[in-house]
Amino acid sequence: MDLVSGADILARRILVIDDEEANVLLLRSVLEREGYRDIHALTDPRRALDTFVDLKPDLVLLDLMMPEVDGFQLLEAFARHSRADDFRPVLVLTADTAVEARRRALSLGAKDFVTKPFDVVEVALRIANLLETRILYERLRQRRCADG
């Protein structure tokens, strides 16, 4: 028996940030195919922080190489605007295969890292896992508040 129901996961809000329209479309297609309904997407990274703060997404799918503001800067900005006890996962999707990019992204707070081109099934599973973790984390916190 799953701890978290599929419906609960699919109801979560996901923010896609990628300057390539095609990639945004691909991810939206993958997510919609999985059954997610609350999907938001951005191709202009300059609006990413405002949108992140306004929408409070449960998961962010983030590209690293973007003009004007890159994914690393956004990771730092998100970390500054998140509460320390809030688990708001970021999944980095990038065409950069260099190991340095992977290490840097993960050290800046990214919870997972996928190299493009990616396997759509694998990405869908990773998204579901991250959301499940977030939901469990939320429950734990709520219980602690109730107990406290």
Binding site: E20, A22, L26, A95, D96, T97, A98, K116, P117, V121
Partner: protein, 647 residues
């Protein structure tokens, strides 16, 4: 000094100072005493001479008196005889009474024998005269017979005449004597004057001699001694000092000994200093010079002159800050001295200026010089011109920076290229995969199209990956983790990974390990990748072969890894293009064999990046590929077990 004088002089100078003092004081005293004695003798003689003169005068006076008294008596008696008056007899009696005393005085005073003889005759005459006078007086009283009286008177007068003659003779003699005595007094007085003058001269000469002895002897020698003592204090050579054995002589000898000792010591010290100075001075590659406590240059060697251009005469006494360029002159010299004072030494590298204003890059060490009490005496400064090294380092640094920049640029280029190629491919593969997932919803012909799209896209992705790999290796940007590896272990690992592919191609895989353990320096992952690539190629292109053999053995200073098969082999016409990228040697037309055409090119790049070589040989049957890897030196330890089993 002439020889005859040397001995007495030596005898004198060798006497102790006390003796000399006594002699110097006694000589004038003795001269003075002799003068006094002679003075006394002279004055006694004079007194006696004067006494004689006085007596001569007294004798003459008394002789006249005797004559006068007798003449008086005679006159009285004659008067009485003529007149018979008693009063004439008074003068006779008075003379008669006075005469004996005068005669006695004369008797006592006369010394001269001639005078004495005449005096005795005079005495006889005087007695006869008196006797005659007494007879005349008696005659005159008794009878007036004048004839007898006249006769008596005549006789008496004759006696007086004889007496007068005698008295004259006596007086004459006494006058001679007086003249003699007066002459003698004059003589004695003259002699006395001479003696006095001689005594005065002798006394003066004695004093002068004493002074001379003192000044020319002792004082002169003491002065020489003092002069030598001054020279000794200045460290100069002593003047000549005769070997004399009195106190001054001994002092002089000790002074000479001390001087000799000092000079010997000084000589040794100077010799050592000289040697040291020569060494320092002859050093040409290092500028070695000394500063005083204020930083003024006090010594200068050839090296300093060569490096900095100043001659010693031009720079001595100048402050060392003039060696610094204007931008550091105000603060750096003071900082260096302060640091040297605090820590003993200060080292610095930087620009310095030469006399002509040109700059050089210097290595400078300043050492504080302290005496045994810890007081700062100055600084030693050693300067080395390392401009050449600095230039070489700068060139190297620039080259390195350029290389790093080029490498960075290439990395950025690769990264960007990777991104640019992969991003569209990502969309293609992603949507293609979605279509594949929903293939059931697609018509048959679309399903086939999706399959083709996906195959092409995956091939494209493999191509891109290989291409970027080669570029990364050739740019030197890809990480190379060289370590000492056991070659057999690496071969077995690659063989086990390749086993399914080889088996799938219907071939048998044989591993022929080295006879004894071989260790190579290489990146394990890449070696495995190269062997895997070669085995996979054999599996793909063997044609009708049956066996693939993987052999590892030592060849000289290298290890050699050989992969060979017994298939159709490679057309000799294709051999030169084997390692050319994208050249699949016509295999692209065989639809059942996949490949990018980059495998061998990538493998050779990897082997070369590890310091090895790769080539193809054409044996009698089949194909043979081999590559080499450098052997590990014996002292590099083998990696731990856990790492060997990794991958």
């Amino acid at each position: 000094m002439p020889a005859p004088f040397r001995l007495p002089t030596r005898l004198w100078t060798d006497r102790p100072l006390t003796f000399k003092g006594v002699v110097v004081v006694a000589v004038p005293l003795l001269v003075l005493l002799a003068a006094l004695v002679s003075l006394y003798g002279a004055s006694t003689a004079e007194v006696q001479a004067e006494d004689d003169v006085r007596r001569a005068f007294a004798i003459q006076r008394d002789t006249h008196r005797v004559h006068a008294l007798l003449a008086e008596a005679a006159a009285g008696v004659r008067g009485y005889a003529l007149t018979r008056e008693e009063q004439f007899l008074d003068r006779y009696r008075q003379a008669e009474a006075e005469l004996p005393a005068t005669m006695a005085r004369l008797d006592g005073a006369i010394r001269d024998p001639q005078v004495r003889a005449r005096f005795e005759r005079l005495r006889g005459l005087t007695a006869r005269k008196q006797e005659g006078l007494r007879q005349i007086a008696a005659l005159a009283e008794r009878s007036p017979d004048t004839a007898e009286l006249r006769r008596a008177l005549r006789a008496n007068t004759q006696v007086l005449d004889a007496m007068r003659a005698e008295i004259d003779a006596l007086q004459q003699r006494e006058s001679v004597l007086l003249a003699e005595r007066t002459a003698r007094v004059e003589d004695v007085r003259g002699r006395f004057l001479v003696v006095t003058a001689i005594s005065a001269v002798l006394g003066l000469l004695g004093s002068l001699a004493a002074v001379y002895l003192f000044s020319t002897g002792i004082v002169r020698r003491v002065r020489v001694l003092e002069h030598n003592a001054t020279r000794l204090a200045r460290g100069e050579a002593l003047g000549e000092q005769p070997a004399e054995s009195d106190e001054i002589g001994r002092l002089a000898q000790r002074l000479a000994r001390a001087s000799a000792l000092l000079r010997a010591r000084e000589h040794a010290l100077r010799e050592s200093e000289e040697r040291f100075r020569l060494v320092v001075d002859q050093v040409r590659d290092y500028g070695i010079f000394a500063l005083d406590a204020d930083g003024l240059v006090v010594s200068w060697n050839q090296g300093a002159e060569r490096i900095k251009g100043w001659r010693a005469g031009e720079i001595l006494g100048q402050h060392f800050s003039r060696f610094y360029p204007p931008e550091t002159r105000a603060h750096r010299p003071a900082e260096m001295l302060a640091q040297a004072r605090r820590h003993g030494t200060a080292e610095d590298e930087g620009w310095r200026v030469r006399r002509d204003g040109s700059r050089f890059w210097a290595n400078v060490v300043i050492t504080a010089l302290r005496d045994e009490h810890g007081a700062l005496r100055g600084f030693a400064k050693v300067t080395r011109d390392i401009s050449e090294r600095h230039r070489a380092e700068e060139t190297l640094r620039l080259a390195r920076e350029e290389a790093v920049a080029a490498s960075d640029a290439k990395s950025v280029f690769l990264s960007r290229t990777s991104h640019e190629l992969r991003t569209p491919l990502s969309a293609i593969l992603g949507f293609g995969q979605l279509l594949e997932l929903d293939a059931d919803d697609l018509p048959e012909r679309h399903r086939a199209a999706v399959t083709h799209i996906m195959a092409a896209a995956r091939h494209l992705l493999a191509l891109i990956d290989d291409l970027l790999d080669i570029s990364a290796i050739e740019a030197g940007g890809a990480e190379l983790r060289a370590e000492a590896l056991d070659l057999e272990a690496v071969c077995r690992q690659a063989a086990s990974l390749a086993a399914p592919i080889v088996a799938g191609a219907g071939l048998r895989l044989t591993v022929d390990p080295p006879r004894r353990p071989l260790r190579v320096v290489a990146d394990r992952r890449r070696v495995v990748q190269v062997i895997l690539n070669l085995l996979a190629n054999a599996a793909k292109y063997h044609g009708n072969g049956t066996t693939v053999t993987l052999t590892a053995r030592q060849e000289g200073a290298s290890a050699c890894i050989i992969v060979e098969d017994d298939g159709v082999g490679i057309d000799p016409a294709h051999a030169p293009r084997l390692f050319t990228a994208f050249d699949r040697l016509g295999q692209e037309r065989r639809s059942n064999v996949e490949g990018t055409g980059l495998g061998l090119a990538l493998s050779r790049s990897m082997v070369q990046s590890m310091g090895g070589a790769m080539a193809h040989e054409r044996p009698d049957r089949g194909a043979r590929f081999w590559f080499t890897l450098p052997l590990a030196p014996p002292d590099i330890p083998a990696p731990r077990r856990s790492e060997e089993t990794e991958v």
